[in-house]
Amino acid sequence: MREIAFRDALNEALAEEMERDESVFLMGEEVANYNGAYKVSKGLLDKFGPRRVVDTPIVELGFAGIGVGAAMGGLKPVIEMMTFNFAILALDQIVNHAAKLRYMSNGQLSCPLVMRGAAGAGGSLASQHSQSLEQQYAHIPGLKVMMPATPYDAKGMLKTAIRDPDPVIFIESEVMYGMNGEVPEEEYLIEMGKGDIKREGADCTIVTWSRAVHWSLQAAEIAAEQGIDVEVIDLRTVRPFDKEIIAESVKKTNRVIVVEEAWPMASVGASVAEWIGRELFDWLDAPVGRVHQRDIPMPYAYNLEPLSLPSAEKIAEAVKKACYR
């Protein structure tokens, strides 16, 4: 099968959905003329014109709100946030308006909006540009949160997000844009809320998503050298998260580590671990393990950044601990 980059898979998803549905449009800073800060929207202005690929001023709150209103007006906006660090400015429109629209209108209105963009750490961008903030959205009833880890998933998931009737927060790890992977030419969709087994194993389950999937797969290799057979589950959607796939795996392995790039306090990982601890208690042979970012703002210094993040080695260590090795 052909291999394309993560950013190109997203680009194809956008182009296909815009072609399919005239009401889908893309809006954000530098998405049109500049072809996107991370080149995800490359060529879309040429293909669809300035009516459907719209450059905005640097006003995240404003254009997020315009997006919500456009959805109320019957369109399907895809709002690009250059990075989710800047989406914090738009949080009011997303949390207080978009998320509530269907419920408060008693189903009269819906908000089929996708807010997507880059997140996470990498390349020494320092504290204000290195944050994994999925928890902010996963916390909110009315929002769905998707975080793909491969080009294949990225394309199928973004298409699903665009077709979803509710606001979907679609978070792309900044360091993954250049990553290549197999993507078929034929159309396919990936179901909302469906996880994926990225590696099968019998001794210990790792539950994770986004960039941390790749650290976890490396960790599984390290563990294999030590005779531990690790299963890696990629949740793909973190709200709603796939409870069945976790349950099935944990019933098989009886041990589980939850790995996330984000901070540990009140995080998605904390909720997933809590659910596992409660619902699968009888199946567990060890406490639910966790690996996460250090509980600090990200420092710039490039010797410190990696120390602040999860790594294959740290995950492998947690696996060993869960296996009492």
Binding site: G62, P264, A301, L304, K321
Partner: protein, 358 residues
Amino acid sequence: MAQTKAKDDEASQQAAPQVEALNLELAAQVREELGDERLVAMLRDMLLLRRFEEYAGRAYQRRKIKGFCHLYIGQEAVGVGSMAALTDADKIVSHYREHGHALARGMDPNAVMAELFGKATGCTGGKGGSMHLFDAEKGFLGGWGIVGGQIALAGGVAFSQKYRDEDAACLCFLGDGAVHQGIVHETLNMASLWDLPLITIVENNRYAMGTSIERVAAVTELAKKSEPYNIVGETVDGQDIFAVYDAIKRARKRAVEEGRPTWLDVLTYRYRGHSMTDPAPYRTKEEVEEEQDLRDPIARMSNWMVSEGILTEDKVGELDDEVTQISKDAMAFADESDFPDPSVLTEDVYVEWPWDIE
């Protein structure tokens, strides 16, 4: 035929572009006020900013500097001219394109370069990097990375200055792209309502990343943005260091004596891309060359100083050599310094969760 010939003549006459003159009256007035020695120091500072950043650019290419690195080259008159009009008591709040502001404020070039290198000897010990330089002692309260967000901080600093009845103002740097953020307008309204000594400089280099001002501003005369808030707004030639100095000096007086804020649209130009990774294909080579050839702030000031007999060309060369050496030394200092010790990771923050695996 005749017409064509006339055109040819014109073209040959135009071969060597003439650097535009400064506002001569203003230049003479500032000279009178500050004295020649201060002017020489200001020219030297502009040269330092430029050479320092040229070296920083090279260090970035050698991957000694990482992350985002936004060079200030072309905008030196704004940083140096404005700092020259402030006192030690004043404070500065800036954004991510702040290397020049930091140096112009007198921060140690070694500490600034070491910060860009992520070293323990940097001005924030390696924690902030290029976008987040700080020197509280020098009243330099940060480079901030969220476009527009810093203006509220500056408003708050000005609030504290008024609260304690200080003889001081707070200067905030902003890009033209930041002007449309809601926080800018919320802050201007409060600054006016509460008579805060806030001076805002919009460094209007005409582009926000790849987007020209015409494409995002319903009103491109940014000075007008302060009108609805009853704040004095002025347009300033940002490539004329004396025009910048003069505008800030008057703004400071207004801030300290009347407690009134000021909003300045300072017209300038960045020679390089938005950041080190931006080749800037969205503007023409001709446009950039015209700015560099006709309105370079360093050439404009040094030309005038030489013509006034304040300096000789040789002396300008000596100043240049001196600041080039300072920049080189800063590189060496940064290179030889140690990376921060991992123990600093959990310093300066309350840590709820001291481990990373469990």
